[in-house]
């Protein structure tokens, strides 16, 4: 008993949060990168990116639509479709699947806090998404360099960075869905619906809203900032040193009104999409039963 009694005082200092988060992130990264879903999405993303790169490189000429590379334009569209789906479904499964398997309660019965578990899972999934994006866009960059295409490495790097920012925002949203759902099937279903809404309905909604409500151009631009996919699209085009004219009057207004400050505006919007849903997920997770 004396050894156990000594243990009470020896065990009174829990492990620092940062180390627990890294341990949990490592486990989550390993589990995520071994999942069939991750492999499927990564292969699909890389294959589509390679197809766009090969086609655009074979056509020749780096300069295309509105002055930015047609390869970049093609890759932006692929990122807009694949990355949000990948990140939303990864986030949606992160907590709900552990809850369904009974793993979450067991994990939380260990000397870890709920915030550590949430952040560990978030970082692990983020690492897996970063690997997938790097693999997809990296292979595109290799193909483009091999074909001698005019698209610069820095624009691919920018696109990779912005894709990761979009992925992190969607991952946060997915994790919020996950902590609110008891079953992984429900969580993934909601995630797919959100993806559809963000990809398809928002464009149509903005167009319909602009016509029906006679929105002013600044209101239209402000509304488009509410959709992280629109933010990513505008920011990518802006970063590629293209004019936002291609987006219509709202893009023209944004370029003339804000100029280089657009980087700041887009960055703040994307940061909000990363932080706000994750903070909300943390608040919900700290109160909900893990079973």
């Amino acid at each position: 008993m004396s050894a156990l009694a000594a243990n009470v005082s020896a065990l009174c200092r829990p492990r620092p949060a940062g180390r627990n988060i890294l341990t949990l992130a490592h486990r989550e990264l390993r589990e995520a990168t071994r999942s069939k879903r991750f492999i499927l999405y990564s292969v699909a993303f890389a294959a589509l990116g390679l197809a766009v790169s090969l086609v655009s490189a074979s056509v020749g000429g780096g300069s295309g639509l509105a002055g930015f590379g047609r390869t970049t334009a093609g890759l932006i569209n692929i990122v807009l479709l694949v990355v949000p789906l990948m990140a939303l479904s990864a986030g949606a499964g992160a907590i709900a699947s552990d809850r369904e398997r009974g793993m979450l309660a067991y994990l939380l019965a260990q000397p870890v806090s709920r915030l550590e578990v949430l952040l560990g899972k978030y970082l692990g999934q983020a690492g897996a998404l970063a690997a997938s994006i790097a693999l997809g866009l990296g292979s595109c960059a290799v193909i483009l360099a091999w074909k001698g295409a005019a698209t610069s490495p820095s624009s691919v790097a920018w696109l990779a960075g912005l894709s990761l920012a979009l992925a992190l925002g969607m991952l946060s949203l997915g994790m919020l869905v996950s902590v609110l759902s008891r079953k992984v099937s429900v969580a993934v279903g909601i995630a797919v619906f959100l993806w559809l809404a963000l990809v398809f309905i928002s464009d149509l909604g903005l167009m319909a809203g602009a016509v029906a409500l006679r929105l002013r151009i600044e209101e239209l631009f402000a509304l488009s900032l509410l959709n992280p996919l629109q933010v990513f699209k505008m920011w990518s085009l802006h970063a590629a040193e293209a004019t936002l004219d291609v987006l219509g009057p709202a893009g023209l207004y944004a370029t003339e009104e804000y100029g280089q400050r657009l980087h700041l505006i887009f960055g703040a919007c994307m940061l909000a999409w990363i932080v706000v849903p994750l903070a909300a997920a943390g608040a919900v997770f700290s109160r909900r039963s893990p079973t």
Binding site: R15, N20, A105, V112, S289
Partner: protein, 257 residues
């Protein structure tokens, strides 16, 4: 070591726990006894800080909610069924939970050997039988030699032979002054592991009695359930001359609330 004061837990309007108070000193072994839905598992989840509740729970002086990490560091927990990332190998699983407990150089093989799992350390968790998974959970629970062991109907998913072996292993490893809180509705486990029994009924702590008193009370129920012939066998096993009433594993195996 564990202090539970006026704990109430509601799910909607229903009270799963209703002003439950219980205190375990260091070295105590207390069985939570009651029918399904009595509140045993809910109380254990409250002690582990998994559920929010009204009242106060302290483990080793640490509030189970506000200082949950520090409280859980003192607790080894074995659930009813191990829900686990089953593509991990057994040794990796032990190493992972050892890291969470802050054990930088865990004696993985020693931990596994203590529960008879060392020969299976290279297997994936999904390849283990139910009994082996419970042994793995016990090995993980004992990492860092925590002074408190919390067990939640740990033999419920095991067959009769597996139950006997696991309870014997628990008896061997849970002693030495460790505080044990366990939920059970098997007299066999109470007979072997408990020092006291806390009887729960519809979320209320009805009474706390010594194991011997409890087993004496339960004897008529056991006899009724086993029938006359089995009762004779149980009688022989239950009353050792000059000693406390106890139940043989065989006679008690069938007896539960």
């Amino acid at each position: 070591m564990i202090r539970i004061e006026g704990v109430t837990k509601r799910f909607g309007r229903a009270a799963a726990l209703d002003h439950v108070s219980l205190e375990l000193q260091a070295g105590d072994s207390v069985a939570l006894w009651g029918a399904n839905g009595a509140g045993k598992t809910t109380l254990i989840r409250c002690v582990l800080g998994l559920l929010r509740y009204e009242g106060r729970i302290e483990v080793g002086g640490h509030d189970a909610t506000r200082h949950g990490k520090a409280a859980r560091l003192l607790v080894g927990y074995v659930p009813q069924e191990l829900g686990f990332q089953d593509d991990l190998r057994v040794a990796e699983a032990v190493a992972f939970f050892a890291r969470l407990r802050g054990i930088t150089r865990p004696d993985v093989r020693g931990s596994l050997a203590a529960v008879g799992l060392d020969p299976h350390r290279g297997k994936r968790v999904r390849e283990l039988s139910g009994g082996m998974k419970q042994r793995l959970a016990l090995a993980i629970a004992l990492l860092g030699d925590p002074p408190v062991l919390v067990l939640d109907e740990v033999t419920a998913s095991l067959d009769a032979v597996g139950r006997d072996e696991f309870v014997a292993l628990l008896k061997q490893l849970s002693g030495g002054g460790r505080t044990v809180l366990f939920a059970s509705h098997r007299l066999e486990e109470v007979s072997i592991l408990a020092g006291r029994v806390a009887v729960l009924d519809h979320g209320r702590l009805v009474r706390t009695v010594s194991r011997d008193e409890f087993l004496a009370e339960q004897r008529p129920r056991l006899f009724r359930s086993l029938g006359r012939e089995a009762a004779g066998t149980a009688e022989a096993g239950c009353t050792a001359p000059g000693g406390p009433p106890s139940f043989t594993a065989r006679s008690c195996r069938e007896a539960s609330l």
